[in-house]
């Protein structure tokens, strides 16, 4: 399909933006060697599964890809043949359409509302299933004993329908009428405050699991086909409603099974109705976290998103870009020769004026070591690297990290560090090896400080950076690319047609993406608390990064003693993780002082540009119990300023003199 090149190729970023046909056509998968995405969902297995993942990780896309209409699209519209060939038939059921709040406006609900929900929900599943069976039965190639099947389904009811039913259409009408009657009863009950009254016409599980068995009997060609309920967006159900779903998982039987899609913590309970005994992981269901899998296989993810981007470009007519490597279209910050190129992204140095980092250093030398002006001038002169601001800044950074103990050391340290920097400028890595070593660790932080010194925004550029920022979630990447494309075109560039997308457009675009992620991907509850906590963590990272002497390079993660935290703190962490503000890293971290393994969290890379912190998984900081609680638990927040001051004192001031007199940073 060719469209106007005015269209933003990344405008559409939700599964719901696509028709079944487009889902089939636009599908991209992992390279086969690792087993494709469909293998992750494993629709041919009878074992029920919870498919969890962050918002936009592709759960819905995957489930819809395995649903009957898209299966049919892959087999020239013949759903029966698709089912036989694939060995399964997917019944996609998004729960947002169930409008579950009408059964549970306030919790806890009275018992009769649970019953209403359970009955209605199964009727809903049965309707979706029956509509798919009808589509199958219409296939020319299938032998299907329709009247017998319909008669057998009628038998499943405890109360027989008032009118005789002989066709699938009539049966479907009957389901629909029954459901609409309940809808009307429910609406009136809400309007008038009456108890909802209607007949329960079948027992739980009879239709959902009974009908697939009958299909095998009355359509022999389908006897090996597994019917898979793909129940999406499980977070729409209340805990009470989930109990009924869990009961269905426990009591599933025959040729029907269940996949449940949802947010990481979308399942509020694993308990079942009645006894309440929880369903068991491994024995009764499997659990898969989609974006976690993708984060653990960065090469696979990288390949996946490249194919995805190529499809999007192709779709709107950027044929050349779609066929070639994507990287050259994204301008990158040139890191050759120690980032010599960044000079042109900074304001021109002014004649007879010290660089901002030297100005600040001079002030600190004076107030901290009480040096005289002449010595200070000597020191600053010794640290100059003409025409190479990155190395000059690196020297100042090194100087601060080593910080002279006394007046005597001050000048010699400057000469030593300055010589190293100038040696590197001349290409002499041996003479500059100490500084080169420091740079290899701290380059991204030095860069961040340098841009901060000049009140310029830190660049984020290059396609690989975009992939890294997306944290294993394809929609994040598409959202960033959408903003980048728009920024680029506004700037008068011709993205994917000629030239490159400038560093500025990319940096602006990822900031737009970060704003969206931060402001509009809002948890429905507990949001304020989580946002305060995440902001504190981000600002802590930023403060360390821009400090006098950062303790960690490229800080982006923290470890906490999970067991020692307050209940509130743990909840904050899980909500933050649920909304991908924080990413829990699997390895954990062994605590330095005990044998305990602490939980390890990374600040969501999507948010990194907002606070200009590192998006790479490198530096980690340990948050002890009291500081962690102060950040994560509003009840302890009052303690935060003091604890933070203690934690940061050594990093932000040039000496151990205790609290900084002037807390402003470099």
């Amino acid at each position: 399909m060719s469209r106007s090149s005015q269209e933003n190729p990344f405008d559409l970023n939700k599964a719901s933006d696509f028709t079944d046909q487009e889902i089939a056509e636009q599908w991209v998968d992992l390279a086969n060697s690792a087993g494709g995405l469909v293998d992750i969902l494993n629709p041919k297995s009878r074992m029920p599964m919870l498919l969890l993942g962050g918002k936009g990780s592709g759960k819905t896309h995957l489930m819809r890809y395995c649903s009957a209409p898209v299966q049919a699209a892959r087999y020239s519209g013949d759903v029966a043949q698709a089912a036989i060939a694939d060995g399964y038939l997917g019944i996609y059921i998004p729960l947002d359409a169930l409008n579950t709040d009408k059964f549970a406006r306030e919790e806890p609900v009275e018992d009769h509302w649970s019953l209403v929900f359970a009955h209605y929900f199964e009727l809903w599943l049965a309707t979706a299933l029956l509509a798919t069976i009808r589509d199958c039965a219409r296939s020319q190639s299938l032998v299907f004993s329709e009247p017998e099947f319909v008669g057998a389904v009628v038998e499943l009811f405890d109360i027989e329908p008032a009118v005789a039913l002989s066709s699938l259409d009539e049966l479907l009408d009957h389901f629909t009428r029954t459901r609409k009657n309940i809808d009307s009863v429910v609406n009136n009950s809400r309007l008038r405050g009456e108890r909802p009254l209607f007949d329960i016409t079948f027992s739980a599980g009879r239709l959902a699991f009974g009908m697939p068995e009958l299909v095998s009997r009355h359509a022999p060609d389908l006897r090996d086909v597994l019917f898979v309920y793909l129940i999406d967006e499980v977070e729409n159900l209340t805990a009470d409603q989930q109990r009924f779903l869990n009961s269905l998982i426990r009591y599933r039987r025959g040729s029907a099974t269940i996949r449940v899609g949802g947010r990481l913590y979308g399942m509020k309970t694993l308990e079942t109705t009645g006894s309440g005994e929880p369903i068991r992981l491994g024995a009764e269901f499997e659990r898969v976290v989609l974006d976690e899998i993708l984060r653990e296989q960065p090469e696979q993810y990288d390949g996946l998103v490249r194919r995805l981007v190529a499809k999007r470009l192709e779709r709107v007519g950027y044929a050349t870009a779609a066929l070639s490597s994507i990287d050259p279209y994204f301008e990158e910050v040139d890191n050759r020769d120690y980032w010599r190129s960044v000079d042109r992204h900074l304001p021109k140095p002014k004649e007879n004026q010290l660089a901002p980092y030297h100005r600040k250093l001079a002030t600190d030398l004076k107030s901290n070591l009480d040096l005289d002006d002449l010595t200070i001038t000597t020191i600053i002169d010794a640290l100059q690297v003409p025409n190479h601001r990155f190395l000059e800044k690196a020297a100042a950074f090194q100087y601060r990290k080593s910080w002279p103990a006394n007046l005597d050391g001050a000048a010699s340290l400057a000469i030593e560090v300055g010589n190293q920097a100038r040696a590197l400028d001349q290409g002499d890595r041996d003479a500059g090896s100490d500084l080169a070593n420091l740079i290899s660790h701290f380059s991204s932080d030095i860069l961040a400080q340098l841009f901060h010194d000049y009140a310029r925004r830190l660049p984020y550029a290059g396609f690989a950076t975009m992939v890294e920022l997306s944290q294993g979630i394809t929609r994040n990447l598409l959202v960033n690319l959408k903003h980048i494309f728009r920024r680029s075109r506004f700037a008068g560039e011709e993205p994917f047609i000629s030239g490159v997308i400038s560093i500025k457009s990319q940096s602006d675009g990822v900031r737009d993406g970060a704003s969206w992620f931060w402001e509009d991907a809002q948890p429905p509850s507990g949001g304020l608390q989580v946002r305060d906590a995440v902001e504190s963590i981000a600002v802590l990272f930023r403060t360390v990064r821009l400090s006098h002497s950062p303790s960690e390079c490229a800080l982006c993660a923290f470890s906490v003693p999970l067991d020692a935290l307050s209940e509130n703190s743990r909840r904050t962490l899980s909500v933050a993780e649920n909304w991908s503000y924080l990413v829990k890293l699997q390895e954990g971290r062994r605590n330095k002082n005990s044998k305990r393994i602490d939980a390890l969290y990374q600040l969501g890379p999507m948010l990194a540009p907002r606070w200009e912190v590192s998006e790479h998984r490198r530096g980690t900081i340990e948050l002890q119990q009291d500081l962690a609680n102060a950040i994560l638990d509003p009840a302890h927040r009052a303690e935060l300023p003091n604890l933070m001051r203690k934690r940061l004192a050594r990093l932000i001031a040039p000496s151990d003199s205790g609290l900084p007199t002037n807390p402003r940073l470099i």
């Binding site: 939700k14 359409a97 309707t127 959202v479 509009d520 809002q522 429905p524």
Partner: protein, 316 residues
């Protein structure tokens, strides 16, 4: 029909014009809050009986209400519980209180909607709603951030449709207002629906439309931009809103098959009245619901001054 005459049979009237005709009501009800436009209109309305309702969302305590005469103080609950308790507290009797007027200026949108559905359900098909504008619409006064607040998107009681499991053509019509976070919540609650934006244009003041576009853009990553899914409607005339809403759905239906429909009036209160009118007159019993993002509490009032008061004559 070039214009939806049926929807436009009734028109808003200025309160002063109504009063000048010498007409009055049997019962007048208003939801109390701090704004001048609620407080100054109350004594001026020609009515045999006048009653304040104190709704729970504003969080008033007894000391705030000392000066009010016989207020009906309402406990927390769903819109159905709160509004029914209000009518009971005002001893509303459809046989004697034949002419009823309710000031919606201080009510929440779900309250307004439920009241309309409930009155219709108990056979009160004619009543008046009153709305008072602030003195000046400045985009600042309308600014309200709900960022990070607890929000729950619910179906408004009395507006629960009979929905279909086939969701392939679900439609969400959003009355675009100033609070883009609410828009974001509504869109997320119906992620599978295609979104029709009903913009308030002409806006209440000339610059508000541009501001709302800018705010809407901040949730743009949430929405798809399928061409033609932008429609326009009046910001302050519920009858025009009802007509535009009907036409917006019609246009959407001509483009792609529609399965379930959700309406979410997130702009002005008069807009909510318009959504209610259209639903109660034309959408009851279909696969259509009105949904609304509920917040636990609201500001007592942000606007200043008293502008024109409008009467909306409702015939259901």
């Amino acid at each position: 029909m070039q214009h939806d005459i049926e929807a436009l049979l009734d028109a808003k009237i200025e309160l002063s014009e109504f009063a000048a005709r010498g007409q009055s009501w049997d019962l007048f009800i208003s939801a109390y809050n701090d704004s001048q436009r609620v407080q100054t209109v109350f004594p001026k309305v020609p009515a045999a009986r006048r009653n304040w309702w104190v709704i729970p969302e504003y969080g008033y305590g007894p000391s705030d209400l000392a000066d009010l005469e016989g207020p009906v103080v309402l406990a927390r609950g769903s819109e159905a519980q709160v509004m029914k308790a209000g009518l009971a507290g005002s001893c509303f009797d459809p046989t004697t209180d034949q002419r009823l007027c309710i000031d919606i200026t201080g009510l929440m949108r779900p309250h307004i909607l439920f009241l309309m559905a409930h009155l219709q359900d108990i056979g009160v098909t004619q009543f008046d709603l009153l709305y008072t504008e602030p003195a000046q619409y400045s985009r600042r006064a309308e600014t309200r951030f709900s960022i990070g607040e607890d929000v729950r998107v619910v179906s408004v009681e009395g507006f629960v449709g009979a929905h279909d499991p086939d969701t392939s053509g679900d439609l969400l019509v959003i009355g675009i207002g100033y609070d883009h976070h609410l828009i974001s919540h509504a869109i997320q609650a119906k992620e599978n629906a295609r979104v029709v934006e009903l913009h308030s244009f002409p806006s209440l003041s000339a610059d508000m439309y541009h501001e709302s576009i800018l705010r809407l853009d901040r949730v743009s990553s949430e929405r798809s931009r399928v061409a033609g899914e932008v429609q326009y409607s009046s910001a302050n005339d519920p009858f025009v809103v009802a007509a535009s809403l009907a036409s917006a759905v019609r246009v959407a239906e001509t483009r792609r098959r529609v399965t379930n429909i959700y309406f979410s009036p997130l702009a002005t209160k008069p807009q909510a009245v318009g959504f209610g009118l259209h639903y109660l007159k034309r959408m009851r019993g279909t696969a259509t619901s009105i949904i609304y993002p509920l917040r636990p509490s609201y500001d007592k009032e942000t606007s200043t001054g008293v502008g024109r008061s409008w009467i909306y004559p409702i015939h259901l």
